[in-house]
C-alpha cells in the first residue's frame, strides 16, 4: 500500500515537472520565433509581454478587467443552464419533443456568433447585455445536448428495481433520474467554463464597453502588440485557473459520481 501511494505521489510530481517544462518550452519557442521574425509589432518578445502583464497586475487593472469579463461569462453560463437543463430534459424524456426541438437546436448550434451579434447589438447596443447574451446562446446547445444524453442514459434497471419496492415517483425522479444527470451536467459545465471565456472576450471585442475583450481591441487599435499578448495571457491564465479549480473540486467532492465514463 505504502509503495503504491509512494509511486503515485512520485508519478504526480513527475507530471507536474513535465507540465512546467511544457510551459518553459512554449516560452522558449516563442522567444526564438520572435528573434527570427524580428518585428515586435507582429510577434513581440515574451519579456516585453511579461513586463506589460506585470504592469497590469501592479496597477490593479487586470483584476477589474477580469471581474468585468468573468461576471458576463458567468451570467451567460447561468442563463445557458437555466434554459438548457429543462429543454434537454424534455428532449431526453420525450422522443416527440426531441424531434420537434431538433430543428431549433440545429439552428442555434450552427448559427455564426456574428449573426447573433448583429441582432444583439441592434437590441441592446454596446454594453454588458450583448456579450452576456452571446455567451448564453453559444453555451446553450452544449448544455441541452449533454442533459438530453444524460436523461437517455438513465439505467432503466434501476427504475424497475424502484418499482418492485414501490418507491414513490418523486424519489425515483430525484434519486435516479437527476442522479444519473449529474455527471452529464458536470461534463457540460466543464466544457462550458472552458468556452465561456473565449466567447465572452470575442463578444466584448466586437460589442462590449468594458472587459478584457474591449481592452484587447484598444491595444490592437493603438498597435500595442505586447499589451494584446498580455491581455491574451491574462485570459488564458484565468481560463486555466478556473478549470483547475473545477478539477480540484471534482477530485474532492465528485468521488461518488466518478463511476461515470463521461467524467473520467
Amino acid at each position: 500500500m505504502k509503495d503504491s501511494s509512494f509511486s503515485e505521489g512520485s508519478q504526480s510530481r513527475r507530471w507536474n515537472w513535465l507540465f512546467l517544462a511544457g510551459i518553459g518550452l512554449i516560452f522558449l519557442a516563442w522567444w526564438i520565433a520572435s528573434l527570427l521574425v524580428h518585428v515586435p509589432l507582429v510577434l513581440p518578445s515574451p519579456w516585453y509581454v511579461i513586463l506589460a502583464f506585470l504592469d497590469m497586475l501592479k496597477d490593479g487593472s487586470a483584476f477589474a478587467l477580469l471581474w468585468s469579463t468573468f461576471s458576463k461569462a458567468v451570467v451567460g453560463l447561468g442563463i445557458a443552464f437555466a434554459f438548457g437543463v429543462p429543454l434537454g430534459m424534455v428532449a431526453g424524456i420525450s422522443k416527440t419533443a426531441d424531434e420537434l426541438l431538433k430543428p431549433f437546436m440545429m439552428v442555434v448550434r450552427s448559427m455564426p456568433v456574428v449573426s447573433w451579434l448583429a441582432s444583439a447589438i441592434l437590441l441592446w447596443g454596446m454594453g454588458w447585455m450583448t456579450p452576456t447574451f452571446i455567451v448564453a446562446v453559444s453555451l446553450f446547445p452544449v448544455v441541452s445536448f449533454n442533459v438530453a444524453e444524460g436523461v437517455r442514459s438513465v439505467d432503466l434497471l434501476l427504475v424497475e428495481m424502484a418499482k418492485v419496492y414501490r418507491v414513490p415517483k418523486k424519489r425515483i425522479i430525484v434519486d435516479i433520474y437527476l442522479g444519473s444527470l449529474v455527471p452529464f451536467v458536470l461534463s457540460a459545465f466543464k466544457v462550458s467554463i472552458g468556452t465561456m471565456w473565449k466567447v465572452a472576450i470575442v463578444a466584448e471585442y466586437l460589442a462590449g464597453n468594458k472587459g478584457i475583450g474591449v481592452e484587447l481591441s484598444w491595444a490592437k487599435f493603438y498597435l500595442n502588440t505586447p499589451k494584446v499578448f498580455a491581455y491574451t495571457m491574462l485570459a488564458v491564465l484565468a481560463g486555466l485557473s478556473l478549470e483547475k479549480v473545477f478539477d480540484f473540486l471534482w477530485e474532492v467532492y465528485g468521488k461518488r459520481w466518478r463511476i461515470s465514463p463521461e467524467m473520467h
Partner: protein, 254 residues
C-alpha cells in the same frame, strides 16, 4: 385476452400459485402454460436453460410484466427481489441504497448487520466486491420484510467461495425468518442446495418438464457435501434434465 395477477386471501396453504401462465414477446413464445405452486415457508427453484423465460416468470410474479394468459395468485403482499445484477445506485452508499427503499434507519442497520455489511455502510458500490454487492442486493430485499423472496440467478458470475458464502447467507435468512422463496437458476447444484422442490423447465417456450422433491437435510446443503454430490449424480443419471429436451422422468410428481 391477458392474464390475471391478483392477491387472494387463501390459496390452500400456498403463498403463490401460478396457473397456466403464458407469455410471448411479439411472435416469440417464451412461457407455455406454466403451473407452479409455492407453499408458505417453502423454498422452490425453477431450473431451466438460459433464455428459457425463467426471469420472465419472476417479473410477472413481481408485477413488472403482464402475462398474456393464466393466473398469478398471491397470498402474500410484501415481495423482496434479489436481482441477477445487483442494481445498486452507483452514486449512493450502501446505506443510501437501502434508505432509497425504506427510510427506517433502524431496519437498515438491522439488515446490514444481518448480512454482515454494517462496517461497509458508507462504501459506494464501486468499492465493493461482486459478492458484497449481492449481499447488499439481498439486504435490500430483506429490508421490506418480505413474505415472498424472489431470487433471479443471484449467484451468476460469482466464484465458488463467494457463491457458497452467499448461498449460506440466503439459506440462513430464509430459515430464521421463515421466508417463502422462489429461486430461478440454470445450475442444478444451486437448485439442489437451495430448494425443497425443483421445477425443471424446458427450453423456450418454457414448460414444466419435471418436478423434483428434494429431501436433503440442511447440513448436507453445501456445494462440496458428498451427499449433495451423490444427489446431483442421481438426478443427472435420470437423464431427463440435461439436455432439457430428453424424455420426462418417472420422478415427476403430480
Amino acid at each position: 385476452m391477458g392474464g390475471v395477477r391478483k392477491k387472494v386471501a387463501d390459496i390452500a396453504g400456498n403463498a403463490l400459485k401460478i396457473e397456466k401462465l403464458s407469455k410471448s414477446y411479439g411472435t416469440l413464445k417464451v412461457l407455455d402454460e406454466i403451473d407452479v405452486e409455492v407453499k408458505k415457508g417453502e423454498r422452490v427453484a425453477l431450473l431451466g436453460p438460459s433464455g428459457c423465460g425463467k426471469t420472465t416468470i419472476l417479473k410477472i410474479v413481481a408485477g413488472l410484466t403482464r402475462p398474456d394468459g393464466g393466473n398469478i395468485l398471491l397470498e402474500v403482499s410484501k415481495i423482496g427481489f434479489v436481482f441477477q445484477e445487483d442494481r445498486l445506485i452507483p452514486w449512493k452508499t450502501v446505506c443510501g441504497n437501502l434508505e432509497f427503499v425504506s427510510s427506517d434507519t433502524h431496519k437498515v442497520e438491522k439488515v446490514l448487520k444481518l448480512v454482515r455489511l454494517w462496517d461497509y455502510r458508507n462504501f459506494y458500490p464501486l468499492q465493493l466486491s461482486g459478492g458484497m454487492k449481492q449481499r447488499v442486493n439481498l439486504a435490500r430485499a430483506l429490508l421490506v420484510e418480505p413474505d415472498l423472496l424472489l431470487l433471479d440467478e443471484p449467484f451468476k458470475g460469482l466464484d465458488l467461495e463467494i457463491k457458497a458464502e452467499l448461498m449460506n447467507e440466503i439459506l440462513r435468512m430464509c430459515r430464521s425468518m421463515s421466508i417463502t422463496a422462489l429461486l430461478v437458476t440454470h445450475d442444478l447444484r444451486e437448485a439442489l442446495i437451495f430448494a425443497d422442490r425443483i421445477y425443471v423447465l424446458s427450453p423456450a417456450p418454457a414448460r414444466v418438464k419435471n418436478v423434483l422433491e428434494i429431501d436433503l437435510p440442511s447440513e448436507h446443503r453445501d456445494f462440496c457435501d458428498t451427499k449433495l454430490l451423490d444427489k446431483e449424480k442421481e438426478v443427472l443419471s435420470q437423464g431427463f434434465w440435461l439436455p432439457f429436451g430428453l424424455p420426462e422422468s418417472p420422478l415427476r410428481s403430480k
